[in-house]
Subunit: 244 residues, 6 copies
């Protein structure tokens, strides 16, 4: 797996998903990297950055409740939960189904204990009442009472998967915030982090000026004048980005 | 209508919809009992338990505004509202349409006065600003300004209906919480209550332990060891379940 | 463009979208005037009234990132933002696409500076974290990180458009609240305002009585008795409508 | 049930569904009378006219295969099949579900024997291979192998139902052809037949002329000149409408 | 992989998918075994029976056209095509996407040469003009001009997959006809074949009688009388089932 | 408008939409150029090539039947029909609505008389019975009896529009065949024609060989060996492409 620069993940924590998706279009013409139809369960606890661990569900067959149980050591959900490195993000391909919730409060408790950064799933969660009291940010398609085995069967982990129309490969860098999530191909993460932070800074500068009445004409999107004024502003002391 | 055990409804109030849907799969192989695509209007006021009173809408015809009005004594919406027993739950088949809101704040005021426990509808509500100030929990597909007569005509009450892909018969027991709703066939309600409470208790125990670092391996889903330790914990004094 | 009565917009600010949609059915048989599938980003900041300025997007072509940029003076998004009169509402036809967010925090800052009352879009917004800290109410289909150019290209402003299944013409009066939005054809706005306020007042009266236990039988929908009692109540001192 | 004029059904057999839907807008402002998303299984065997007999399905519950069987005398599917008058049309509310086929070849054989004119269903059929060899026209949402009990349970007949977004009441007149189906409210059938045939005749005349090169300017939609020339053409001998 | 009885595949060729889905409900309570939303490209060339070879697509990433090419020996599409045993059925998980056609006429030519029995895909095909001239039956979601790489990337073969909401495991028996397809779990194939053929025979008998005017009352679904008369009919010489 | 090479349209008539979409990805990274969810009304009459004339519909408002009529000289449908050059293709943005058919048999008769090559619409047609007897190929989303004014209002012609998710600008080259349609940006048409024909020829050669048993290994997609053998085959006499 490609090695990332030491500060890439930390840098990405200062960059919004809005900026990252813009960079992926600019750098690589990639328009498909944000899972669609997925939102944070709680907009106030929406942010994380980390490498993807993938988990894939297929439709359930009615006689496989046994295989669906995480009691079996080779159950893919269990494998993903128990082997995902601390700081990683669990990305789940549920094929868009909302027929059952993939993760409930007990598995979430285990994920939190193991240091998982967050979850992105193109399906539902369950126990979202208790989950709202817990610390892990989750992006998904809402809630459903039934267990995942009501409609889905875990069939693989560590694979390339789809999630909300985006290809996700293990190790891709997943960033999430209030807007949703974005999957950065691992080989682009260093560049997206550097260019993204630069864009983020300049937009902080622009927004402050626009709020103060600066017209966007000749100023936003950034022109030569914008960049010059931005450089002066930076030189005067680069502000720390504290995402609100 | 089948008589329920005296404490079944009270017991079910201590059991989450997540647990109930799991019990319905385990006891009866039923995977279709939770209406899909429906969520509480307000996750902080999402819970109720009660027997279903059903109401069915069909698409509107443009010349039937008169028949759509609840002014007529035989209007099904009016009949359902005025005859539903205190403690019952109004379950509305809107065919998934979000073209109009079934219940606004005045009808909700009447339902509250009559002691209705809550609403489950596979369509929209209206006046959700005022409804947010009122006490009745509502699970539905969001809000829409138009009256139901903008798109729908009430055509029946007291019938078997569909709601979000689940069959609902009058008298079925409807449970709802933050995750959504579940429809327990009336003849299964006593057993689901008893087995569900048992599952709820053991999961409270398991979650506490997992949060404290207990690995799920050999512990969750519950093994013989889990059950033995749970029994010891229960013997040491059964905790009251106070759903947070 | 048809001149409105001087107090029409102010009157409409006292009328809910629920009431307005009911009036449009009653006055003109119009059932299609509320965009479907659109909700306020924040139910606590959902209300506005103003004339529509329209903006239309078509699907993006992969080589048109240049044309998509608001840097060009004839970019329709820029034109709409810079020429919309203070107090107007930006209504955006995104064809239902959630592949990119039409407006982010910098353009929102500019719209706020220019005095725009609000946005209605049948697509996504971006930067919704920062937008939540800003003052402009927005009704849309949720959030998406990518820029609109990820999936969409602005192609026109000042045109008749569709938005969530409703025809919107420049100058139509857009009203929005917690339930969603409604588009009043400009030539009906004066009448809808007057009749809508009357309906709003009578419903305030009815709701107060129903909450106090008045049965709806012979009282709601309003009968001759209701109207007589309402007149007495009004005569006793017309209450100011302060929408909660 | 309202009595129809003696020749209304025969007249309607000469009028296309396109013309009938146009008449329903013109006469009664009704835009919702054609079930959406429904097509003939075979465009070459698509036409029928007759009064509606309604049948309603709700979602299946997994323990009700017994009740789903047509072996029971009070099974609604069986009741509808055995009591529908010759010449009537079976209209089925399947809630849009394609999880199972409502009618297979044996029930179709019985319907044919009993003289049913056709079927309109907002769901799937099964045995469409054999059905293609049989004489009954069917409009539906395609085919699905499973029996209706795979996903649906018949719960009522003789009710007001929805079908593809159109209200259908028993006795409404159902017309179907290559374009799809339309449901004429029974009280409008006589007028729609008379006006529809007139429109059909004038459009036969117009189409012949347009094919021969007559510009539509001042001619179509019909102007005074068109009508005068049409009258002359009629006077010269009214053509029989033989729908191709 | 479980060994099948020698004549199971041949027996299944005499049984319709309608009958097989009914048997799967009866034998095993399985209601999820027929992919939804999939139809034969050509109803006149719709039938096949064979064991499943699975192929899985995920969403495309814009820089992976190279990996998408079947020129690479480890491309999953190429692997599936080149290693599928004669008589097997290619079942493709496209996640429901119609953004590109999985198989065009050249790959189809290769599949035909290699003796593949047919294709079931929950996505589109391309080159359907030429494909209509070729011999292989295909069940899918219609046609789309773009190559699969327009929207999809092959990521695996020989896995458990989903197809139209049905779990498909390699070796499952796939049956297809005019109605659509059904996936028989391999361990049930022998029993489904035997019971299915019995049901097929009795329904041939029933249908002949119903067409001749026999009422369904007490006759269909099969009663003791039906079975006795059927046995007499069989004894008089079992008819060959020649599916029309 | 950019001038095309003299033989570009004729060359494109020899190239399939499958090949054209592949060329657009290869030449320009364009994956969005084929309208989705659209199919020929009749696969046997599906082909045409020509420059786009655009027509745009918005949702209908219930009081605008007058404006919807093509009797008005400035009605956009009428304008498009009467001013489209012979050989052009009418591309209609209906926003995906199937609530009414855009073109019926009389307007089709006029379009045929005026020499229009075909229609592509992301909505429904009506009078498809008579249309099946006429000569114009139509790609759309099926049929619906109501007039377009049942759900839609023509609001513009000669604009950039969307159709099935593809941007269409007036003058873009529209190609259609059995698979569907593709919109070539006008400035790429000459190159797509030349490269597309080359690809078409080599694929004719490859397919003939694969049908004869040539393995795809090292042969397809085309390798150096393939190209050499192809050149020899061409040198031996280039075959005329007669698309079947």
């Amino acid at each position: 797996m490609i090695e990332l620069a030491a500060d890439t993940l930390d840098t990405l924590r200062q960059v919004s998903t809005a900026t990252i998706t813009a960079q992926l279009i600019k750098i690589a013409g990639m328009r498909s990297r944000s899972p669609r139809g997925i939102a944070p369960l709680d907009r106030k606890r929406a942010r994380f950055v980390g490498p993807a661990v993938t988990l894939r569900y297929a439709p359930m067959r009615e006689d496989l409740d046994g295989r669906a149980s995480t009691v079996h050591p080779d159950n893919p959900t269990r494998q993903a939960i128990e082997t995902a490195p601390p700081g990683s993000v669990l990305v789940i391909d549920m094929g868009g189904s909302i027929g059952g919730g993939a993760i409930g409060d007990i598995l979430a408790a285990r994920l939190i204990f193991r240091g998982i950064a967050g979850i992105v799933a193109d399906g539902a969660m369950r126990d979202v009442g208790p989950l709202a009291e817990m610390t892990m940010p989750i992006h998904c398609r809402g809630s459903a009472p039934p267990p995942s085995s009501g409609a889905l069967l875990a069939v693989g982990t560590g694979e390339a998967i789809g999630c909300g129309g985006a290809l996700v490969e293990p190790g891709d860098i997943v960033c999430a915030d209030e807007d949703g999530a974005v999957i950065i191909p691992r080989h682009l993460a260093d560049k997206v982090a550097i260019d993204g932070l630069e864009q983020e800074l300049i937009e902080v500068f622009i927004k402050a000026r626009v709020l103060a009445g600066e017209p966007i004409d000749g100023f936003y999107p950034a022109t030569a004048r914008t960049k010059a004024e931005y450089q002066a502003w930076i030189t005067a002391g680069r502000p720390a980005i504290v995402r609100p």
